[in-house]
């Protein structure tokens, strides 16, 4: 559900690329826009309404949203995942009303990993009683077993899971499917549907000479051991074989066990490695040595112990059909010394729970076969999703499977066809026109504060420390609000061309054969056209852009201020007011005589709203805009100056004193400057 109610473009039905790219269709743009306006609690609720594991997801998601972010065209993408983590770490939602169990059917969910937790979360919200059966003693599945704590502290998982439990979901730990419980026992217990989300618990192994030697261990059990006990038996010279996220996790985890050296041997070149650049960079930064484009030939050993890996140089990893089919150069052997070799070349399924159950089909690679729409296996009432179906997926892909399966289970049990419109395949807003890139102001990405590399290798504490409020707001304000900007109502547009002529980003156009204007996805949401359109045919697609109207009403609702004299309404630009430390101080200092109405860009404010402020009881209106050099948009100052003049004329027509309406262009909306201006104005108004 899109709780911000953003309208879609009737002509194109385009969606923000970050939302389209996300496996669970997280409303990234909208929660970022809420953060940009300091509406953190609503932002958190929006995230949580779609994502059952926001704290964990904000840390380890591979964020395809950022890969598709259109800020890539101007400099670097928005730190979407880090912003979600900021919300998960600092905000929570009190559940005042646990969903009523509307339906009698009980659902059994096998595995408390991303898929199982997502399925349970959504089924509980739909009104079902859910029990999760988990073989471990703690929740999270591979998040807990596989992901190191320095990337994902366990409290992040626990916080997320606690919320799911508050929805009424029961989790039974230390309960293994296939031994402690079976298909039959669950049926006897009265469960109407079973969702299998057990994940891939086994590590793949290599079919080469020497894998049986002492010192050769598998990646996932190694991570599991360290993640649960804080230690593992390794030698002084560790080599990880693999190039993906698990390989990076193994290498960085091994580093923290203080061997002399940790290396990684990867088939892929550095560019081809199937993990995020950030993970590779952090591993190298911490001291991991990378051997790229080498393939394992055999593990060398002495006295039954591994001593190194003989490698071959890789000719190519993927063949012409882009299939994984590595080829090597003959005679290119070389040796990487190691006394511990960790195999992190992929995971495999453990299907022992299927014993005696032949109806559920299994693929050659050991995954379960399900109907891709209904998630149903061939066994009636049994569903499956997550890695056990995908083979290899990300956390969000697992959650997406769980969410889709939950809806499918509901539809099957109720014989309904309830749909989640978010899964509709919408077209992403296309890339920014190259000619427009230069018109968009570059905004530096906020750095993630991290623990110093000297400190981090002594422990398993989290390396990334999280955004401060200031950094989060500043980062969120870089968002270009793709697909939620201005749009033209064809029924109202009179084709006056005002928008076409005034847009500083040259976005509106009247296409050949059309008589009304069209605003494409390159709109930057500056709002100039929305205000200047004489026919009021242009509005924002997102209701978040209230243009100051709702905020003004809210600011004047306090009965206390009705007696205050003089009362000033200060319309200020939120782009210039990201600094948390100062905003409260300023607001407190000004509180008695000044009410502040923040708008993300004052180009969105209609002059008639300034008149409205007077009508609602203000004795003065103070507009504080950002100076051109600090303005998020371009040409705002020029337009704010024009409107100031125009508003002054309207007020002069009413015989109002010119001192009642002032506009100032200032460097910061939270500095001493605003205090001086406001106090001066208070004094002036006292003298009128």
């Amino acid at each position: 559900m899109n709780t911000t109610g953003t309208k879609s473009d009737k002509k194109t039905d385009e969606e923000a690329p970050c939302i389209v790219a996300c496996p669970i269709r997280q409303d990234a743009r909208d929660y970022i826009q809420l953060i940009a306006r300091r509406r953190f609690q609503e932002a958190y609720q929006l995230v949580r309404s779609r994502n059952p594991l926001p704290s964990a997801c904000g840390r380890i998601c591979t964020h395809p949203c950022e890969t598709k972010c259109r800020r890539n065209s101007t400099e670097t993408p928005i730190a979407i995942a880090w912003l979600k983590r900021f919300l998960g770490d600092n905000f929570s939602e009190e559940i005042s009303k646990i969903p009523i169990e509307k339906y009698p059917e009980r659902i059994a969910i096998i595995g408390a990993g991303p898929a199982g937790l997502a399925a349970a979360n959504d089924l509980a919200l739909l009104g079902y009683s859910c029990t999760i059966f988990e073989s471990n003693s703690t929740p999270g599945g591979m998040l807990r077993m596989g992901v190191p704590t320095y990337r994902l502290p366990r409290m992040a998982i626990d916080n997320d899971v606690e919320f799911i439990k508050k929805l009424g979901v029961e989790i039974k730990y230390n309960t293994t499917f296939g031994t402690d419980i079976t298909f039959d026992s669950l049926k006897k217990e009265g469960f109407s549907a079973i969702f299998i989300g057990v994940g891939l618990l086994e590590s793949r192994t290599l079919n080469i000479e020497g894998v049986q030697l002492d010192g050769v261990i598998r990646g996932v059990p190694f991570l599991h051991e360290v993640n649960t006990t804080g230690r593992a038996h390794i030698g002084k010279n560790v080599l990880v074989i693999g190039g993906g996220a698990v390989a990076m996790d193994c290498a960085r985890t091994a580093l923290r066990l203080k061997p002399d050296k940790v290396s990684v041997a990867s088939l892929e070149s550095r560019k081809e490695m199937p993990t995020t650049d950030f993970e590779i960079e952090e591993a190298v930064h911490e001291g991991v040595i990378l051997h790229n484009s080498v393939g394992p030939k055999r593990i060398l050993g002495k006295d039954g112990r591994a001593t190194g890996l003989e490698t071959l140089k890789v000719k190519y990893v993927f063949d012409e059909q882009k299939r994984f089919n590595p080829a090597f150069y003959d005679g290119s052997e070389s040796v990487i010394d190691a006394d511990t070799i960790i195999l992190a070349i992929g995971q495999a399924s453990d299907l022992s729970f299927l014993k005696g159950q032949e109806r559920i089909q299994v693929t050659r690679s050991g995954t379960l076969v399900v109907n891709p729409t209904t998630f149903s296996t061939a066994l009636h009432g049994v569903y499956a999703g997550g890695d056990i179906v995908l083979g290899r997926g990300t956390m969000t892909e697992g959650m997406a499977q769980g969410k889709k399966a939950a809806l499918a289970i509901h539809n099957a049990l109720r014989n309904t066809t309830l749909k989640d419109e978010k899964w509709n395949n919408k077209t992403a807003v296309s890339d920014i026109a190259p000619s427009r890139i230069a018109l968009i102001k570059k905004e530096q990405k906020q750095e993630m504060p991290t623990m110093s590399s000297e400190k981090r290798l002594d422990n398993f504490d989290e390396v990334e420390l999280g955004f401060s409020i200031n950094a989060a707001v500043k980062e969120a304000q870089r968002c270009m609000n793709c697909g939620a900007g201005a749009f033209v109502d064809d029924n109202l547009c009179v084709g006056c061309l005002t928008c076409v002529r005034i847009c500083p980003f040259e976005v509106p156009e009247i296409k050949k054969g059309d008589t009304t204007a069209y605003i494409n996805g390159d709109c930057q949401s500056c709002g100039l056209c929305v205000v200047e359109c004489p026919a009021r045919a242009i509005s924002f697609k997102t209701p978040l852009e209230d243009q100051g109207k709702d905020t003004l009403q809210a600011a004047l609702q306090d009965t206390f201020i009705q007696g205050v004299k003089p009362l000033i309404i200060n319309f200020y630009c939120q782009y210039g007011a990201y600094n948390e430390d100062k905003i409260d101080t300023i607001n407190n200092l000004l509180f008695f005589h000044v009410r502040r109405v923040g708008v993300l860009g004052l180009g969105k404010v209609d002059p008639s709203l300034y008149l409205k402020a007077f009508e609602l009881g203000a004795h003065g209106v103070l507009v504080t805009a950002c100076k051109d050099d600090t303005c998020h948009f371009c040409k705002e100052q020029e337009w704010i100056e024009r409107r100031t003049k125009f508003t002054a004329q309207l007020l002069s027509g009413l015989g109002m004193d010119a001192r009642r309406f002032k506009t100032h262009f200032i460097s910061s909306q939270n500095g001493k400057e605003i205090l001086d201006i406001a106090f001066n104005m208070i004094e002036e108004l006292r003298n009128i």
Binding site: L492, V494, G495, C496, L497, T498, R501, I502, V531, E532, C533, P534, A535, R536, D606, P607, S608, L611, K612, F614, E615, L650, G653, L654, G655, M656
Partner: protein, 227 residues
């Protein structure tokens, strides 16, 4: 299109001073395009009226509405309920719209909020120039597509007067001398010879001399009273 200019607010206020329930009514065509009679201007005028009353301690109710064209009976009939609920209407349509409103709602006082000024268009964003005087006998074919009737201060028919100075009109330095422009245009088109033909005195009876004018399209007339 018809271009209209906003009336001074003091004049509007004066006109409406005795009314308590007022509708500011915009028109969604020409005056919207020239930024004096669209929905945006409706909101601005309404805000001004409300604030003005508040400052003077008067109680008034100001409604805001707009219709596609105030010069069509059917369109203004659509807003009948709103109009008949008011004591007065401030129409910010051109004079045509104001009259249609007055004719349609004889019991309601209808006031003009704009001064209908000329027929013209925007030459650049926010700047409008007169281009046609509605003379009823178009001569643009012989003047290179530039109208001396509306664009010459004296509506001369046979070239510029002695006041044409460096391509500018003596009445206003801002105004280009249209006969200078006509000369340049005809020169470009190698049609300067046409200027040698003397144009006899213009028959003004097709234009403003003959108010009110009427046009009948016989093939479209249906015998149905739509007013």
């Amino acid at each position: 299109m018809i271009v209209a200019a906003s009336k001074p607010f003091q004049e509007i206020k004066q006109m409406l001073s005795e009314f308590r329930k007022i509708c500011v009514l915009g028109c969604g065509s020409c005056v919207t395009i020239c930024h004096t009679g669209g929905e945006k201007q409706v909101a601005e005028l309404a805000a001004q009226l409300r604030l003005s009353a508040k400052l003077e301690g008067r109680q008034i109710e100001v409604k805001e509405d707009s219709t596609l064209r105030q010069c069509e009976w059917e369109f203004i009939d659509n807003i009948r309920e709103v109009i008949e609920d008011c004591d007065a209407v401030l129409s910010i349509a051109c004079g045509v719209g104001v009259q249609y409103m007055a004719e349609k709602f004889p019991k309601i006082r209808i006031f003009p909020g704009v001064n209908t000024t000329f027929m013209g268009g925007p030459t650049e964003q926010g700047i409008f120039w007169e281009r046609c005087a509605g003379c009823g006998n178009c001569i643009l074919a012989t003047t290179g597509g530039l109208c001396p009737v509306s664009r010459c201060a004296k509506s001369l028919m046979n070239g510029p007067c002695g006041g044409s100075q460096n391509g500018r009109c003596e009445v206003s330095q801002e105004t280009p001398c249209v006969w200078n422009q006509i000369y340049d245009q005809l020169d470009t088109q190698q049609l300067l010879k046409t200027m040698e033909t003397i144009v006899p005195p213009k028959d003004w009876t097709t234009g403003a001399e003959n108010h009110p004018r009427k046009m009948v399209l016989e093939h479209l007339v249906v015998k149905k009273q739509i007013n």
